[in-house]
């Protein structure tokens, strides 16, 4: 089912989303790769308040190419990065900060799946390599945090986006998981493939 969502979004809304839904989102999203995840978690553990509220935004696994303009930033390319690297701490991150949409590439593991169910969030797949399309849907760079400490790809960029997508729900809060279902289909297909090679 195709859905156009506007952020911020509440838990009741994300709990309705199911594997196979194709979303576009409008609102503010923030980027975080390995380093930004750790930086935010450490700040929280020290009792600090973050400079923005992740619960109001979607989390985007992305290391963008950004160019400084006169008084702001120009996003050149901003496709998704491989999400499974963040499996180490994504469950803790979601349970702490309660972002309800995680945008990435390639899916995540069992710990994140459990956290999605717990928090009422979804993992959505964004087309790998679609860096120019993503940049086109980013209307404005609203802010950037930890740029000096972490560098361009690892910093937390806040993007105001319009009709950002297509975002395919591949893991949902009701235990739905496209990757697990697909593994079974592929294993079945491989039997036929091997039979044809041997035949």
């Amino acid at each position: 089912m195709k859905r156009e969502l506007t952020l911020p979004i509440d838990e009741a809304q994300t709990r309705e989303l199911r594997v196979g839904d194709i979303l576009t989102i409008t609102g503010t999203i923030f980027t975080a790769r390995d380093e930004a995840h750790l930086t935010m978690l450490e700040a929280h553990e020290r009792g600090e308040t973050l400079p923005f509220d992740p619960a109001q935004m979607a989390l985007f696994h992305c290391g963008p190419v950004v160019r400084k303009t006169g008084d702001g930033w120009d996003v050149i390319a901003a496709g998704p990065t491989t999400s499974v690297r963040m499996e180490l701490f994504e469950d803790r991150f979601l349970e702490t900060f309660r972002s309800r949409i995680v945008i990435g590439k390639g899916g995540m593991g069992d710990k994140t799946q459990a956290a999605l169910e717990n928090v009422g969030a979804v993992y959505v797949h964004y087309t790998g390599g679609a860096g120019a399309l993503a940049a086109q849907r980013i209307e404005r760079v609203a802010d950037v945090h930890w740029l000096d400490e972490l560098g361009m790809p690892e910093a937390a960029w806040l993007f105001e986006v319009k009709a950002f997508g297509p975002l395919l729900v591949t893991m949902d809060s009701a235990g739905g998981n496209l990757y697990r279902d697909l593994d079974a289909t592929i294993a079945e297909n491989m039997k036929q493939i091997h039979a044809r090679i041997e035949g």
Partner: protein
Amino acid sequence: MTDHKVKAALVGALRKAATRLPSDVVDALKAARKRETSSMAAAQLDAILENVAIAREGSVPMCQDTGIQTFFVEAGVDSPFLGRLKGWIAEAVVEATREIPLRPNTVDPFAATNPGDNSGRFMPFINWDLVDGDGVTITVLPKGGGSENMSTLKMLPPGVGLKGIKRAVVDHIVSCQGKPCPPTIVGVGIGGGADIALKLGKKAVLREIGTSHPEPAAAEMERELRELVNMSGVGAMGVGGDTTCLAVHVEYAHRHPASLPLGILVQCWADRRAGVRLAADGSVEVM
């Protein structure tokens, strides 16, 4: 004068490769979209095609991973420019990185430092072939990390035969699932030796989609492997669908009787390539 002209043409080729997907790849993606029966995979292919159009119109890189710049040079033995080609290529990469811009992707494996301009030890890497005549053809293949990480070498026991080769290729490509950003182009290098099989696989990736190996046995294997990989159901971006690879290209060398090297080179849907032709009179053309 020639210096400036050739370098400008090389920067032009690097820009073309980063921003304009070759028409054979676009056509193959469109054909895959037309055939696709899964709405989820169709959405991926639509996004790829829209992304490609935006990159072309805005002359911006189609993917944020603009790759490692790898060159293939067919150098005519009578070209007056042989001694200068390496320097021109290296300087063009640095210039293109700043101008286009390209992501700085060369990292020192010991110091973990990045010079910031895609230069470095053995970088950009140049493959040399000497050919007859006085012309030079330079092809650039900017290759992303995600798909290169899925490339592999198998040293098969020769007894497994052609069936063993087919099984190894299909098993490997299917096990990669969405990681190399499918639909991919798969280069299969057979024979020679460990390094030669991988090199042949990479050269096979350079061939235009829609062409077949000139020899019937190799062409038949290409067709069969494409069909088998696409029976898997992995689909675009690994979300399940009809097209996992756009093409399989085979290249081979004679082998040692005790060895059956198999190089499997995986290229993402962003099968970026462009080239420059340099004549003996110094005239250049971007291809």
